[in-house]
């Protein structure tokens, strides 16, 4: 995985260009809707980057990350609403509360593997939601907490946009920083073979708990920002399982265990789901079928590109380049390159489809 990244400097270049575009985009004037769509997308990416640490790199399929999102949101909500804190420090508290909670539940839960770990984390998240909903004196219970919003509008839009974008960069940087270090190696080793990792001297418990806590930190700060951004939080909304699933989908779409994966997947997921609500392809109103089509999209992606779109694109490009280089000089043109690329993509898709078949 790490080496796939090294070989594809292109991915990094594309990423930096994309970052530049996103950083400059507001200068060309965005509608409030575009601001919101992109800000939500960044927050989704951050939760995806969080999941990627435990799920992508360490190989522990956590299904309860929404608990951290909710705790982050509630930390901000309670501190701002009850204790009059200003917003920015609550982000840190939100992240730390989530990380602490992850460390606490991680100690027992990370002893489990596979499905059992997945279900245990799911259970923890559900139980956390119910407790927050029930614990009215502290959380205001199911009724939720309302927060004032930042004014004026343009300031708020840019503030949240760049804050969220900054968090995406932070998430990517954090990931990059760690995976080149011993800790990162230990995660990838654990994912490949936990017993072998132990025998090489890796304290897998510590590695996993750190991974889980960092995951929770990223997801928690996303939750914190969400709380203030949305100005309203309620248990059934901030602890919704769908949030975990969306983050996982984003990671899988882009490519698990890569830095660019959650970003590419988050962009793709948000664009597709937003597009489906509004678009009327060929004048056909998708109407209430937009959710169904999202489901079909998920199924197709899982069957055809289980390693994510980045893997698909880079492999296709590599293959096309190889074929291209073999061809006689006369036929080398952009057009033939694209054609080769398309053929390679088709082939890879067909291979992927058969890959896990019985």
């Amino acid at each position: 995985m790490r080496e796939a990244l090294r070989q594809n400097r292109n991915v990094v270049i594309v990423g930096l260009i994309g970052l530049g575009i996103f950083a400059l985009l507001p200068l060309f004037g965005l509608s409030g809707f575009a601001y919101r769509t992109l800000t939500s997308m960044f927050l989704l990416i951050v939760t995806a980057q969080g999941w990627n640490l435990i799920g992508g790199y360490t190989g522990y399929a956590a299904f309860g990350n929404v608990a951290f999102f909710g705790l982050g949101a509630y930390a901000t909500g309670i501190l701002m609403y009850r204790h009059g804190w200003s917003f920015l420090p609550t982000i840190l508290v939100g992240g730390l509360v989530a990380a602490g909670y992850a460390a606490l539940i991680g100690l027992p839960v990370l002893r489990l593997r596979g499905h059992y770990f997945a279900i245990a984390t799911l259970g923890v998240a559900e139980a956390t939601r119910e407790i927050v909903a029930w614990w009215t004196p502290v959380t205001d219970g199911a009724a939720g907490i309302s927060l004032p919003f930042l004014k004026p509008i343009t300031l708020a839009q840019n503030f949240f946009y760049y804050l969220a974008l900054g968090m995406v960069i932070f998430g990517a940087f954090l990931t990059w920083f760690i995976i080149r270090r011993k800790l990162g190696y230990s995660w990838i080793a654990i994912r490949a073979d936990e017993d072998a990792a132990k025998m090489l001297g890796i304290n897998t418990t510590v590695s996993k708990v750190i991974a889980y806590a960092l995951t929770a930190f990223l997801v928690g700060i996303a939750g914190s920002v969400y709380a203030y951004y949305n100005s309203f939080i309620a248990p059934e909304e901030v602890f919704k399982i769908d949030r975990t699933l969306q983050a996982i989908l984003a990671v899988v779409l882009g490519g698990a265990g890569t830095i660019a994966g959650p970003i590419a997947g988050g962009v793709l997921f948000q664009l597709v789901s937003t597009f489906l609500i509004f678009s009327k392809p060929f004048g056909i109103d998708l109407g209430q079928f937009h959710v169904t089509i999202m489901g079909i999209f998920i199924v197709l992606v899982i069957i055809f590109t289980p390693r994510g779109v980045i893997d698909l694109v880079t492999r296709s490009a590599r293959e096309a380049r190889r074929v291209h280089a073999d061809q006689a000089g006369g036929r080398r043109s952009t057009w033939t390159f694209l054609k080769d690329g398309a053929r390679a993509t088709r082939l890879i898709l067909a291979q992927n489809r058969q890959q896990f078949k019985i």
Binding site: F33, L38, A133, G141, A143, P148, I153, E237, A317, F337
Partner: protein
């Protein structure tokens, strides 16, 4: 060369995707009455749930909006200054999701440039959507969220045509006490969501105020599939009155459970459920005697100068437009939705423009007699309106039984015991 190529292709793809995402993908389309000449057009925006958890109620809300739109356009639209303006409504489906609701409201305001906003259905989506409306200082009248917390945030542009949640079950207590002052004990079953909590707390406080003893009040989780142990616990308390604050599915589950365990109370009432057609359809005879509440029922005797005039007329028009089968009883959500547009009509006509601030000022001082009764908002923006009590009569119909001046049927009390039916 190929590396360079890949790079340019990637940039192109990203740009293309961004353009798709950030631009309106399709021209706003609505059902414009064609061929009819009009001076101007007023566009409303609404993100309602057409799929997801509250698709059903979202559908009622949309139907209410649509009926009003059709009728007012037939009548020539709104009179703004000296112009006649037809109205149009742009809808999106928020899939019952508050995040989507906020995103769509943002789109309606900043891209579709609608003049004014209508609310979604459900307390949580309303929270999110109303925050966007307030941010842009565009009025939003919503007929689908009654949580008091929506209105105690100091917002100025949000108005609600449903009475505040804590008032929901009060009229039931009044109605029962008016009939039988010997009633002593109440049990309250509460779903664990914000709206139901407010309803239950309001009912509990009021019951105590009236000298009743609340012998049982417990929360149950949303999406619960089994309430048998709650019923067992309630039965042990032997209450005179059983109140439920939750959603229609829970109300049905509780009624089935009460019958299963032969729990006999003198009155059963639910905040949500009895007025929805599904309640009678699913419970059939077991729905008899159950009390429901509504800010509006078709039996109420209101009179207005609007396109509907009376509740009965509104109900008949709903049935004519959407079919007898679908609207055996017309749920109040449809009426409160239509009332939202009616409130806009009067405010816009008074303001002489659709300027958000001017409309907001007019809404704040609105005092209007209509098919929906008096439409008048409190300083917080929520309608001030007594709740009517309805009862499912063994003859299969739904009668309004309280207050007396709106009643069109006899309040059957106490409810017959299960084994005597």
């Amino acid at each position: 060369m190929s590396r360079h190529l890949l790079r340019s292709v990637s940039i192109g793809v990203i740009l293309a995707l961004l353009i798709v995402a950030c631009q309106p993908a399709a021209a706003p389309s609505g059902n414009q009455p064609s061929g009819q000449a009009s001076d101007c057009k007023i566009t409303f925006g609404a993100a309602v749930s057409l799929t997801g958890k509250t698709a059903k109620e979202g559908g009622y809300v949309k139907d209410g909006y649509e009926l009003y739109k059709d009728e007012i356009n037939k009548a020539g639209g709104f009179k703004v200054g000296d112009k006649q303006c037809l109205i149009d409504i742009k809808y999106y489906d928020d899939a019952s999701d508050p995040d989507t609701s906020a995103q769509l409201t943002e789109k309606l305001v900043t891209e579709d440039k609608v003049d004014l906003l209508l609310g979604p259905y459900g307390t949580n989506p309303t929270f999110s959507a109303s925050a966007v409306a307030e941010k842009y200082e565009i009025p939003m009248i919503e007929g689908g969220g009654a949580g008091v917390k929506i209105f105690d945030r100091g917002y100025k542009y949000i108005f609600g045509t449903l009475p505040a949640a804590p008032f929901y079950l009060r009229s039931v207590i009044d109605a029962v006490l008016a009939k039988d002052s010997s009633v002593k004990t109440v049990a309250i079953l509460v779903e664990n969501d914000g709206f139901s909590q407010e309803v239950a707390t309001g009912a509990e406080e009021y019951a105590k105020e009236k000298g009743l003893e609340v012998v049982y009040k417990e929360q149950y989780p949303s999406n619960t599939q089994d309430v048998s142990s709650l019923i067992t616990a309630v039965k042990a308390k032997n209450p005179d009155m059983i109140l439920g604050a939750g959603h229609a599915a829970d109300a049905i589950l509780i009624m089935k459970g009460l019958k299963d365990q032969k729990v006999n109370a003198k009155a059963y009432a639910f905040s949500v459920g009895p007025t929805s057609p599904d309640f009678r359809k699913t419970l059939e005879k077991d729905a008899d005697f159950v009390l429901g509440i509504g800010p509006w029922t078709e039996a109420m005797k209101f009179q207005g100068t609007d396109v509907f005039g009376t509740p009965q007329k509104f109900a008949d028009m709903m049935r004519a437009k959407y079919g007898e089968e679908n609207y055996k009883t017309v749920p109040y959500q449809a009426a409160s939705a239509a009332a939202a547009l009616l409130a806009y009509q009067k405010a816009i006509e008074a303001a002489g423009s659709t300027d958000p601030k001017a409309v907001r000022e007019q809404l704040a001082q609105l005092d209007l007699q209509s098919f929906y009764g008096t439409i008048k908002f409190s300083p917080e923006g929520i309608i001030v309106k007594p709740m009517g009590v309805v009862q499912l009569n063994p003859d299969g119909k739904l009668y309004t039984v309280y207050p007396a001046d709106a009643a069109n049927g006899e309040f059957l009390y106490p409810a017959k015991a299960w084994d005597q039916r």
